[in-house]
């Protein structure tokens, strides 16, 4: 570009122009200084890139990038038919296995985690096919646009990649039909900048046997009350397949409203069923759909609640999770659902009873493989590559003032968490659940030995759940949190404080404490 320009090197009015230090000489010496500086910068850049190319893959990287080249010490693993089943998920514990697909037996404990040689942002598996959405480091192909930064990998029970398809945008959902025939991916695609507040999704169907793209849902015909409808703002996401694979459910958004649609792969047709259903997930028995329902939210941040829709009676039942969570539910079995909040996996009953319970820490994208169980591919082989963390022992104690108070008086809950184990606990989360109708006052960390808290917050104003988190609680240390509330009406106030951590707890019984206070009306 500079060759196109004639530069006027005069500096009009420069006071130094008349000085002894002539501008030309100054520019020259500065020129040399800059040249040296620029050369150093370029050399560092080139050297670093060169090192990035040759360095071993074990370096912890931000990327979650598909197949992992495993060392000799990491034996092959495989999903084998039979047994109680397996939970497949993305392990998010920092370190060597961050982002890797991991497995634990269904119904067993969450440790040890058996690592598969695949890194996936979203993973799903059924019968003999799996789908893994990951970064692929930027591929140049006309098929996936000029640059695709992500890919959909189709893999078999031995986790070897069979097909790779370019994926547009950031992976959001992945589903495999129960017989492993078809797969569906949803990704967020958007303009050059997310600042525009616009977003667009792309949902793609894949034939998992041949690895061929069956089509984008936007190419399917949409029928509403028998009439074909079309609009430019159609967006589709969150596919769930029925047992015959050909039939599926998904979400259609248009005109600011979401709809449940029923699709037919063979007929390439979609039928609008009802309003306000996102990310449906069909129960194993095929009778119910678990989904997230938009219950509020403005300025682009939606507030959702999980619900279950009975397909026979078309009755909706709200589930007990009080947080707004953006995930596509996975059914643990016909009675319980499983989902991730971005940090941990949770499960709760699918009939609206009970409360959510932490299923697994530091995990994402759960997939329940009902017809397969985990075993090393060769039983006589060396032990599979497992990730196990040492056990900790956390204990919670709660103290309050008097157990009977008057309406309008403050109640202060003092929650003390102690690490009674021999090793440091990490990723601590203290959750306090209270009934509705209270005025929430201050919540703060009173003391924390040998550490610093990230702070406390309630995620959404309408929630009666307060969480506090801290990165580490050393062995022998304790953490005290004070929460003040004011009852607005007479009644019994139930409070439950629970502590969670990344490591397994040797004594889970003392991780949660319930207290009850009675507030009486003042005459």
């Amino acid at each position: 570009m500079s060759s196109l320009l004639r530069v006027d090197f005069r500096r009009p009015g420069s006071p130094r122009a008349a000085g002894a230090d002539s501008p030309t000489r100054r520019t020259l010496s500065r020129g040399w200084l800059f040249a040296l500086f620029a050369v150093v910068c370029v050399v560092i850049s080139v050297a670093y890139v060169a090192w990035s190319i040759v360095r071993p893959g074990s370096v912890e990287r931000l990327a979650v990038s598909g197949p992992v080249v495993t060392g000799a010490d990491e034996p092959g693993v495989a999903l084998v038919a039979g047994g109680p089943g397996t939970v497949l998920f993305q392990n998010t514990i920092a370190g060597e296995f961050a982002g890797r697909v991991a497995m634990v037996p269904l119904g067993g404990r969450e440790w040890p985690r058996n690592m598969a040689p695949l890194g996936c942002m979203r993973v799903h598996f059924a019968a003999d096919r799996g789908l893994c959405l990951a970064e692929d480091g930027g591929t140049f192909s006309l098929d996936g646009g000029i640059f695709s930064t992500h890919a959909a990998y189709v893999f078999g029970p031995d986790f070897q990649v069979l097909h790779a398809l370019p994926l547009n945008g950031v992976p959001s959902r992945a589903r495999v039909s129960p017989d492993g025939r078809y797969g569906a991916t949803t990704s967020f695609v958007s303009g050059h900048s997310y600042a525009d507040g616009s977003f667009s999704t792309e949902t793609m169907l894949i034939d998992l046997t041949s690895g061929a793209k069956l089509g984008n849902l936007e190419e399917f015909a949409v029928l509403r009350d028998g009439q074909r409808i079309e609009a430019e703002d159609f967006n589709f996401w969150g596919v769930t397949f029925a047992s015959d694979s050909n039939r599926f459910y998904a979400t259609l958004a248009t005109g600011g409203q979401t709809y449940l649609i029923e699709g037919d792969v063979g007929a390439r047709q979609l039928r609008v069923l009802r309003e306000n259903v996102e990310c449906p997930s069909l129960s194993p028995d095929g009778t119910r759909l678990a989904f997230k329902k938009r219950v509020g939210g403005d300025f682009g941040v939606a507030v959702w609640r999980f619900h279950v829709l009975d397909l026979t009676t078309m009755k909706e039942t709200p589930l007990t999770e009080t947080r707004s969570i953006d995930d596509q539910i996975e059914w643990l079995d016909d009675g319980r659902v499983l989902y991730g909040d971005g940090w941990h996996l949770w499960s709760m009953p699918a009939d609206g009873s009970g409360t959510p319970h932490r299923f697994m820490s530091d995990a994402n994208s759960p997939a329940v493989v009902r017809t397969a169980s985990l075993r090393a591919s060769e039983p006589e082989q060396a032990p599979v590559k497992n990730l196990t963390l040492p056990s900790i022992d956390l204990a919670v104690a709660v103290s309050t003032g008097p157990e009977d108070i008057a309406v309008g008086e403050d109640i202060t809950y003092t929650v003390t968490v102690t690490n009674e184990g021999a090793v440091d606990a990490t990723g601590l989360l203290v959750e306090q659940i209270l009934p509705e109708g209270l005025n929430f006052g201050e919540v703060r960390t009173v003391s924390l030995t040998n550490g610093s808290s990230y702070g406390c917050s309630s995620q959404y104003p309408e929630e009666t759940r307060v969480t506090c988190d801290t990165p580490v609680l050393p062995s022998g240390a304790s953490w005290t949190i004070a929460l003040t509330v004011k009852p607005g009406a007479a009644g019994t106030i139930k409070h439950q404080a629970t502590v969670y951590a990344t490591e397994p707890d040797a004594n889970p019984e003392n991780d949660s404490v319930k207290t009850k206070i009675v507030a009486t009306a003042v005459e």
């Binding site: 570009m1 196109l4 320009l5 004639r6 006027d8 090197f9 500096r11 009009p12 009015g13 006071p15 800059f34 620029a38 910068c41 560092i44 670093y48 890139v49 990035s52 190319i53 912890e60 990287r61 931000l62 990327a63 990038s65 961050a98 970064e135 480091g137 930027g138 591929t139 140049f140 996936g144 646009g145 000029i146 640059f147 930064t149 370019p166 547009n168 950031v170 967020f188 695609v189 958007s190 303009g191 050059h192 900048s193 997310y194 600042a195 525009d196 507040g197 616009s198 977003f199 667009s200 430019e232 703002d233 005109g255 600011g256 682009g300 941040v301 939606a302 953006d326 909040d341 971005g342």
Partner: protein
């Protein structure tokens, strides 16, 4: 007091400078070096912004819409900082040093990216530092460009700067994707190269750009006091107040690039992976036309070229509303969009520079940029809502009508301003 526009005088000045119709543009070394600084800085920041949203959206589990809200907050913070930094630069007379501070903050944010890894809370803070740096540096940089250029060549100077700047914005994503292809998944390598590129830009600025002495330096006794209040008073300055109104009104009717590309995609139904190509094509046209547009503005009048640019934008809207004609429609739209940027982006700053007193140049340009960018932010929100509630065609049609109204307002204001100020001698030059 100051001239908005006086083509006769501009022509005379050009003739005196002896520049012929076909010569290469003449710009001061300050403009060239500021252009190179922006080139390298833009390579650096576009490399990062190409890949960062993926992390924020995925790591944070945020929907792009929520990310948009956070990004809006960043923009608001940057707008506030921009005005304060502008006044600070004018007050201290250290435009270069304030610009250096802004560029340095962005370079520091690259170090932060390397250190922070995937801790999302840290990433949000780092992006904020980068945005604040951008907010701080733009106004003193544009003021330096204008102060180091003759009055008659302001638009050319801005054109040269914008051409270099846009070249950097084109190279950045290509370099990022190239590096990703070379070493898949090594985002740290991208951050290192981005940091080094930012440092080269910072080096050019520090070593080769000098503060421009103001005429008042000779008469130190009668320096006017530069304060936030004095900057606020600029709103009432005859020429400048009008420009603010024009800038904000046109900004309110400007559809963001992202929506425009999305609309095109909806019409043609092309693979969404081609999005980066749309961006590169627009930037290419912008880069190629920035200098010619600037020279044309200096020759036939900046106001005319500025309004002409918005006529091109109106053409883009019209193309979006037409029935589908084929791929040519996309090509023409992108060409018009690039030309619109070339005719308006630097030219608005030249218009502003021509009417702003030198001692308040940075503050004034900061106000002008803030007014237009806040108006565009509001326009984005409105467009998004219109699209959601009433559909794409209605949204585009409303914006086309709004743009037409804003252009009529602009022409009325510019013509009235010209009549008022044409017989007043400009204070500078």
């Amino acid at each position: 007091m100051y001239q908005i526009e006086n083509s006769g005088q501009v022509l005379k000045a050009r003739t005196k400078a002896g520049a012929s119709r076909w010569s290469w543009p003449r710009v001061s070394r300050t403009v060239l070096f500021l252009g190179l600084t922006s080139l390298f800085t833009d390579i650096s920041s576009e490399m990062v912004s190409t890949i960062l949203p993926l992390y924020l959206v995925f790591g944070l589990q945020l929907t792009p819409l929520a990310f948009g809200v956070i990004d809006g907050l960043y923009l608001g913070a940057a707008a506030l900082v921009r005005v304060v930094a502008g006044v600070w630069a004018d007050r201290s007379r250290r435009l270069k040093e304030v610009a250096v501070a802004g560029y340095a903050l962005s370079a520091v944010s690259r170090v932060g990216l390397l250190v922070a890894g995937s801790v999302w809370t840290a990433l949000v803070g780092i992006v904020l530092i980068d945005r604040l740096g951008k907010g701080i540096r733009t106004a003193p940089r544009d003021a330096l460009i204008s102060l180091s250029s003759p009055q008659a060549g302001l638009a050319t100077a801005f054109g040269v700067h914008r051409a270099l700047d846009t070249a950097g914005a084109m190279v950045g994503p290509l370099l990022a994707f190239g590096l990703l292809a070379l070493t898949p998944g090594s985002y740290d390598a991208i951050f290192v190269v981005s940091l080094c590129t930012a440092l080269i830009g910072l080096g050019i600025l520090t070593l080769f750009v000098e503060n421009q002495p103001l005429p008042q330096d000779d008469a130190a006794a009668e320096q006017p006091v530069v304060s936030l209040r004095a900057a606020a008073q600029l709103v009432y300055a005859p020429g400048f107040g009008r420009l603010l109104i024009i800038g904000a009104a046109l900004g309110l009717a400007t559809m963001s690039d992202g929506f425009l590309y999305l609309t095109l995609q909806r019409r043609l139904d092309f693979n969404i992976g081609f999005f980066p190509l749309l961006y590169v094509a627009t930037a290419l046209i912008f880069m190629l036309l920035a200098v010619p547009a600037g020279r044309l503005a200096d020759r036939i009048g900046r106001g005319r070229v500025f309004v002409g640019g918005y006529v091109l934008l109106l053409g883009v809207y019209a193309l979006l509303l037409l029935p589908w004609l084929g791929t040519a429609q996309v090509v023409v739209s992108l060409g018009l969009l690039g030309a619109y940027y070339a005719a308006t982006d630097g030219v608005l700053m030249a218009l502003g520079s021509a009417v702003l007193p030198e001692e308040l140049r940075t503050s004034g340009l900061a106000l002008l940029t803030t007014a237009t960018s806040l108006a565009r932010l509001a326009a984005s929100v409105v467009f998004g809502l219109l699209w959601t509630w009433r559909g794409l065609e209605v949204a585009v049609a409303v914006f086309a009508v709004g743009l037409l109204a804003a252009m009529l307002l602009t022409m009325v204001v510019l013509i009235r301003g010209k009549v008022r100020v044409s017989d007043v001698q400009p204070a500078t030059s």
